[in-house]
């Protein structure tokens, strides 16, 4: 109970600070938009080609964006040593991780919902037909990105060359998320969309495995 209420309070703080400055959201949206536009030059963006390459392009852009967006997650807690204040205040340090990964999932999902229509218009891929299903896939994928990304940003914040290190640590680990999310999205963007239960189940498995690992080992990342 204390874990949940602490998480809720901390999540409120994460959202408040982000929506006050909107720094993460704006930079991430612009970054993904840039990739999406630049990608149009690398192949012939006709309808058929877009259907084939689109999902992969989208998720690769999200992956890169996430590995940048998650950088400040723990770094900004170091500026005033607020991490120590949090550790002194919460019973279970897992609350700190839970709040951060919930906030990151939300931020990622928000950028995805914003950019999906843009992608749809630019690449002539209709998304409205399976919009709710797409949101579900995006949510499960974002959760996977956030769970591992939050944990690894606590790791990279303690090393040198941290800005470069996080993508290096994170991206190979996210191979399963990339494959599953891309495949799931692809099966929703075809003319007769089918619900990709198999891949959703796989994403759920990924999320559960790493959430459990974070729950077991996360607190050790914060200790001194």
């Amino acid at each position: 109970m204390a874990l949940l209420s602490n998480t809720a309070v901390l999540l409120g703080k994460e959202l408040r600070t982000e929506f006050r400055s909107r720094e993460l959201l704006t930079t991430t949206v612009v970054f993904i938009l840039t990739i999406v536009v630049l990608f149009s030059f690398t192949f012939d963006p006709s309808v058929n080609e877009s259907r084939r390459f689109g999902p992969g392009l989208l998720w690769l852009a999200f992956l890169f964006a996430a590995s940048l967006m998650l950088q400040p997650c723990f770094l900004r807690e170091q500026t005033n040593d607020t991490l120590s204040a949090l550790r002194l205040s919460v019973n279970d340090p897992f609350a700190i991780f839970l709040a951060k990964l919930a906030a990151n999932t939300l931020f990622l999902l928000l950028t995805q919902v914003l950019l999906l229509p843009v992608f749809s218009i630019l690449y002539n891929v209709p998304v409205l037909g399976a919009f709710p299903q797409l949101i579900l896939v995006m949510f499960m994928g974002s959760l996977g990105l956030s769970v591992t990304g939050t944990a690894l940003s606590a790791i990279s914040a303690q090393a040198r060359m941290r800005e470069l290190l996080l993508p290096l640590l994170l991206l190979p680990l996210l191979t399963p998320v990339l494959i599953a999310s891309t495949e799931a999205t692809a099966s929703l963007l075809v003319l007769n969309p089918i619900m990709p239960w198999k891949w959703l189940g796989f994403l759920l498995g990924f999320d559960v495995v790493f959430l459990t690992a974070l729950w077991l080992f996360g607190e050790y990342l914060l200790e001194e």
């Binding site: 790791i155 190979p172 191979t175 796989f202 495995v209 690992a213 080992f217």
Partner: protein, 225 residues
């Protein structure tokens, strides 16, 4: 010291027996010809690489719970040895694939897994070079190692599911299964040899790391004084 040289000599002799067996004892594969003999180095290397990463995982777990430096030393030793076998696997793959399939590389499930594994453990070793304090380094790299190993079945599962939906080049069946009896015997002899080699290498690397750890703490003590 003498004992180590003796063990090293035994490993070398065993390896030369294995090489002989692969080149002259095992029959020539009917379709692929002599090039198939690389299989005896290739396939067991993959199995032994996975085994080393598992040892690394065990070291990582033990470090997190006991905080004894020896487990950290085991972790880094096993990761490096695993990387060596993984590299052998990646290099021998194309040498075999090119004459047989006519291509150097294909994004088949096992090849892709190997590549991702190689990247994961490169990151693990890279992370270790970027943290100054030995205790911190040991702890956070152990946790990354645990994450990396947990990822292995997931990577493999996802690639398999994904690739089975697409046409893929036909490769040999499971390791050792359906092999001609002599081939199977040579294969398992190789596997055994590589496991012994792995243990020997990890042991040597561990001794080196232990010595390095000791030197480092003496240096730091001297600096502080």
């Amino acid at each position: 010291m003498k004992k180590r040289i003796l063990i090293a000599a035994v490993v070398v002799i065993l390896m030369s027996f294995a090489a002989y067996a692969a080149l002259f004892v095992a029959p020539t594969e009917s379709k692929m010809g002599t090039i198939q003999r690389i299989f005896y180095l290739h396939a067991p290397s993959g199995m032994v690489a996975l085994l080393s990463f598992f040892v690394c995982f065990v070291g990582n777990l033990a470090y997190v719970f006991t905080r004894k430096p020896k487990w950290d030393w085991l972790g880094v030793s096993a990761a490096e040895v695993g990387m060596a076998f993984c590299t052998v696997l990646i290099l021998t793959g194309p040498i075999w694939a090119h004459p047989v399939w006519g291509i150097w590389w294909t994004w088949d499930a096992r090849l892709t897994l190997t590549f991702v594994l190689w990247l994961l453990y490169t990151s693990y070793l890279l992370l270790r070079t970027l943290v100054e304090d030995p205790d911190r380094r040991a702890l956070i790299s152990a946790i990354y190692g645990i994450f990396a190993f947990l990822d292995v079945p997931l990577v493999y599962g996802s690639i398999r599911w994904w690739r089975t939906q697409h046409p893929q080049p036909v490769i040999m069946g499971g390791s050792g299964s359906g092999l001609e009896p002599t081939m199977a015997r040579v294969f398992w002899f190789w596997f055994l040899n590589l496991v012994i080699l792995m243990i020997f290498l990890i042991h040597e690397r561990y001794a080196l790391e232990a010595m390095r750890g000791e030197v480092q703490s003496i240096e730091r003590e001297a600096e502080a004084a």
